[in-house]
Amino acid sequence: MSDAIALKHVAYRPAKEFAIRDLSMTVPTGAIYGFLGPNGSGKTTTIKLLLGMLEAARGVIEVLGHTIPQGAPQALARIGYVPERLHLYGSLTVGEIMDYHRAFYATWDAGRAAELRGQFSLRTEQKIERLSKGESGKLMMLLALATQPELLVLDEPTDGLDPVVRRDVLAALVEYVSARNATVLVSSHLVHEQERICDWVGVMDDGALVAEMPMHTFRSGIKRLRVSGAPPVVPAAPFTILGRTVTAGAEKEWGVRGWQPEMAAWFTAQGATLREVIDLDLEESFVELLSTARSGGTA
């Protein structure tokens, strides 16, 4: 499978206190890639880099086969972009912005745009500056989908939306992706939402990608183990130890990645007892991964 997005050793420093350092990430074609990370971790900056809005100081960025930023116009013609905040001209109406947007895209589907407008209950004469947050989100999604993109780049598309609007937006997205087999990069810090729709996940923290893997690996691979009798220093394990914390008495909780049930025998060999294997949901896995990355552990 080829890659819709590939970043190799990208560096960018927008401010003294923050930098993207040696970022490499890959979004396979056809994937719905959940781009996770806390606020300020660099997700939006990365998205702006891959859309050619910002220029990397170092590294290679390829999107849909085009090198960015040189090939950005050609790539952008095949991308639907929904930014985290409303970016459209407030003084225009919904109808006017649809006409304006259409002028720049040869692939604009007027029928689909009208259909989505009806589905989202947007009126052509509504002024953009008077739209609610939910209506603004729907309008941006409409503009992105009506261009029939091969790649959708969505930056916190449902952040701040009420559950009903969020459901409408996600339904339109899922419907489009299933019909067109498009690739989606969706950034969010709403972990539960990503869990429902994504098949790949990348976790960003403090300007670096701390993990990137298929969603099922991420969901099943990270566990919390309750262990007793383990020596203070343990030899190399068949899984990755993310962190160890003392709970009650000599019992410790281990955060681990790459866990398989047959690895339980390793504890016996160390003279330790594996008391319990706790399944983590995506949010807990995410938090475990981030806390490990921040404490300098191996993620």
Partner: protein, 220 residues
């Protein structure tokens, strides 16, 4: 694509363009009112000429005002959203800038057409003495080209990175302040840098030299 950009800029600049068209209609009426209706008496020529010279300044002020406002309106909506929408559109940046510039120039052209049209009508109605002739087309072209220069300057400034603009403006302000300070304490006879800038901009072949010449609707 150009029509879409022109439509948005028309929407943002509409009030000032319409106002400019009205003013363009008023200026020649005001200038030629010195000529009584159906009179060709040469007695009125000096006062008529004074009126025409006054109108020249009004045309220049109108060109400058409409150019500045149209330039600001060209970028205001994009600047308000940090240019994110413009940057996400699938065309090279230079082409988008050219579209915006072209739309602004077209709107200034509309005002210039009004200047020529109303000037021509006013000159046709006013009974001009035989030695004087109306040049409404020449005035309209001069108005348009004259307005394009400040428009281009403000447009370029606003299209630039705000940080760079702040640095440029701060640097110019610092140089001018030091220059004025030195002149005030008597180190130099007159502000050297400021004088040089003004000479460069206005005099001879400077970009704003057109504003020092007369924009005459009626001349010999």
């Amino acid at each position: 694509m150009f029509r879409a950009v022109l439509n948005t800029q028309w929407k943002w600049s509409r009030p000032i363009v319409l106002l400019a068209v009205l003013v363009a209609g008023y200026i020649p009426i005001s200038a030629l009112r010195a000529m009584p209706y159906k009179s060709v008496d040469t007695y009125y020529i000096p006062s008529l000429y004074q009126g025409i010279i006054g109108a020249s300044i009004h045309y220049q002020l109108l060109a400058l005002a409409v150019a500045v406002v149209v330039a600001i309106a060209s970028w205001q909506a994009d600047a308000h959203r940090q240019h994110v929408y413009a940057l996400s559109l699938p065309l090279p940046r230079w082409r988008f800038v050219l579209l915006r510039f072209g739309a602004g120039a077209a709107l200034l052209g509309a005002v210039a057409v009004a200047v020529g049209l109303f000037g021509g009508i006013a000159a046709a109605i006013a009974p001009l003495p035989a030695m004087l002739h109306a040049y409404p087309v020449g005035l309209a072209v001069r108005f348009w080209l004259g307005a394009l220069v400040p428009f281009a300057m403000i447009f370029a400034l606003l299209a630039s990175d705000p940080k760079r603009v702040r640095i440029i403006v701060a640097a110019i302000a610092t140089i001018v302040a030091v220059d004025l300070l030195l002149a005030s304490v008597g180190t130099t006879d007159k502000p050297l840098v400021l004088g040089w800038i003004l000479d460069g901009v206005y005099a001879g072949s400077g970009p704003l030299a057109a504003f020092l010449n007369r924009w005459m609707l009626v001349d010999v």
